[in-house]
């Protein structure tokens, strides 16, 4: 059972609605009334205003009157000079010049952005890439050169990849070494000549990896020529004089006096090597080289190397 208020017609939880005698539109009328009065006060028409608004209307009138009595301020020399120069409207020529300047600046910015993006990805043409790289280098920004492309990106890489060895290894011609069959090439190193498993001759020189740009016979990347007859880079003659680590050549009869610290992977290597830090991948490479030092165990099972080093520092080779 719900409890009801004594006056059942009045629900205290609800705001009572308008009664028949209420002036519902009164607030709106008051607002309109205020707006009309406000305009009259601003206009200074005090005749029809309520008494309390008359002083305000007179204040407005006085304020307007004093503003109209304000003297004309003297025109400054700068403004007068501006009037004489006639800078009222910008000339079309000046506007066009400004617009063309903005367009030129935008075009330059777009070209620079494109060049930067292309150079950063080393995708520009070789000459342009080099120019951008050298220019960026002036500002201390490291942008790769075109010859630093990997994966056959440039002609230089391809050229370096598979030049025939200067001294194709006669199997076992000078074998007897135990060095790696396919060693990288040092610039002046005496190649770690791979052992020729069947060769009685002088140590076979491991095939050299492709040398980059022919600089000093040093390579940082393995050659990409699978069957390349590797070339020596910097090795004059494949005269091994060092001790090579124990080879893994099961039949290796060759000796290697190479300085290649990395194991070659030339299975039939007749390559050159020396001082190169990266393993070549010339499976059938024939190369020359000189190396000094210790070579890691070769993996040339049938290595037949030659001891004739390539005289050149660069190793242009076959193109794929």
């Amino acid at each position: 059972m719900t409890e009801r208020w004594p006056d059942a017609d009045v629900d205290p939880t609800r705001i009572p609605g308008p009664s028949p005698g209420d002036d519902v539109g009164g607030m709106g009328a008051i607002a309109e009334f205020d707006a009309v009065f406000d305009e009259a006060v601003v206009a200074g028409a005090s005749e029809d205003l309520p008494v309390e608004l008359v002083p305000v209307a007179r204040f407005a009138t006085e304020l307007r009157r004093r503003a109209r009595r304000e003297p004309v301020p003297p025109m400054s020399a700068a403004l007068r000079a501006q009037l004489v120069q006639g800078a009222a409207t910008p000339t079309p020529v000046a506007r066009a010049a400004r617009r063309s300047l903005v367009l030129a600046a935008a075009a330059v910015a777009a070209v620079v952005a494109l060049l930067s993006a292309g150079a950063a990805q080393n995708r520009l043409p070789t000459r342009l890439q080099d120019v951008v790289s050298s220019t960026a280098g002036l500002f201390g920004v490291d942008v790769p050169r075109a010859d630093e492309r990997s994966g056959g990106g440039s002609l230089t890489d391809q050229d370096d990849g598979g030049r025939p060895a200067a001294g194709p290894g006669a199997p076992g011609a000078q074998g007897g070494g135990t060095g790696p069959a396919d060693g990288p090439v040092g610039s002046e190193g005496q190649g770690a000549t791979p052992a020729d498993p069947n060769g009685p001759g002088e140590p076979a020189t491991p095939a050299t990896p492709p040398e980059r740009s022919g600089r000093d016979g040093r390579s940082t990347t393995p050659p990409s020529h699978p069957n390349g007859e590797g070339s020596s880079a910097g090795g004059a003659e494949g005269q091994g004089q060092g001790q090579s680590p124990p080879p893994s050549n099961p039949q290796g009869g060759g000796s290697s006096a190479g300085g290649n610290p990395t194991p070659p992977s030339n299975p039939r290597g007749a390559g050159t090597g020396g001082g190169n830090q990266t393993p070549p991948s010339n499976p059938a490479g024939g190369g020359t080289g000189k190396g000094q030092g210790q070579s890691p165990p070769p993996s040339n099972p049938n290595g037949a190397g030659t001891g004739q080093g390539g005289p050149s520092a660069t190793a242009p080779g076959q193109r794929r």
């Binding site: 205020d34 707006a35 406000d38 006060v41 601003v42 309390e52 608004l53 008359v54 002083p55 305000v56 007179r58 204040f59 407005a60 009138t61 006085e62 304020l63 307007r64 004093r66 503003a67 109209r68 009595r69 304000e70 003297p71 004309v72 301020p73 003297p74 025109m75 400054s76 700068a78 403004l79 501006q82 009037l83 004489v84 006639g86 800078a87 009222a88 409207t89 910008p90």
Partner: protein
């Protein structure tokens, strides 16, 4: 010294000034510079003459981009004046300077209240305006001194017309209360 009556319609002068007529712009200057100066002065700007010249110089520079008739031109000029005044206030960042002006002689009208208002110095008028907020004062001055309609004031201040009406109503109510209080005080 009273200024000559401004031309009722500035449209022709505006067109001529846009075409490059120096004389036409000087007419516009004579018509509007005093009102601009009064608007700046009642808003408490210190160097009224200098700022008025800066306003009119900006008007002259941008005149080529203005389109409209004389009424729109008047509204546009006071928009520039208001913005320059706000910039000036920000740069000075101090309270509005009360400008000392001499009490101007006025004729006795016979109406005690009106005579009392006439006897108000500019400083007293300024003190009445100072009871308003900056927005309320700007609205009152643009409506009364610059004779701009509600829409033009709204455009100049970057507000909606309804907000201008509300500001105006509150400003007038505040003035009414202060004037009433002063009258009681005098009585």
């Amino acid at each position: 010294m009273t200024r000559p009556e401004p031309p009722t319609d500035l449209t022709d002068a505006v067109l001529a000034a846009k075409a490059g007529s120096v004389a036409a712009f000087e007419d516009l200057y004579r018509a509007l510079a005093p009102t601009v100066a009064a608007y700046l002065r009642w808003n408490g700007v210190g160097d009224v003459e200098s700022l008025t010249n800066e306003v009119m110089a900006q008007v002259h520079r941008n005149l080529g981009r203005f389109t409209g008739d004389g009424t729109a031109f008047r509204s546009w000029v006071f928009t520039i004046a208001h913005h320059r005044m706000v910039d000036e206030r920000r740069s000075v960042s101090r309270r509005p300077v009360v400008i000392e002006r001499e009490v101007q002689e006025t004729a006795v009208t016979g109406d005690a209240e009106l005579d009392a208002l006439d006897a108000l110095s500019d400083q007293e008028l300024q003190s009445l305006l100072d009871v308003l907020s900056p927005d309320q004062r700007a609205v009152v001055l643009l409506r009364i001194v610059a004779d701009l309609p509600i829409d033009a004031v709204a455009s100049a201040l970057g507000k909606q017309p309804g907000a201008i009406k509300s500001l105006q109503h509150r400003a007038l109510a505040t003035l009414r209360r202060h004037l009433e209080r002063e009258r009681i005080h005098h009585d």
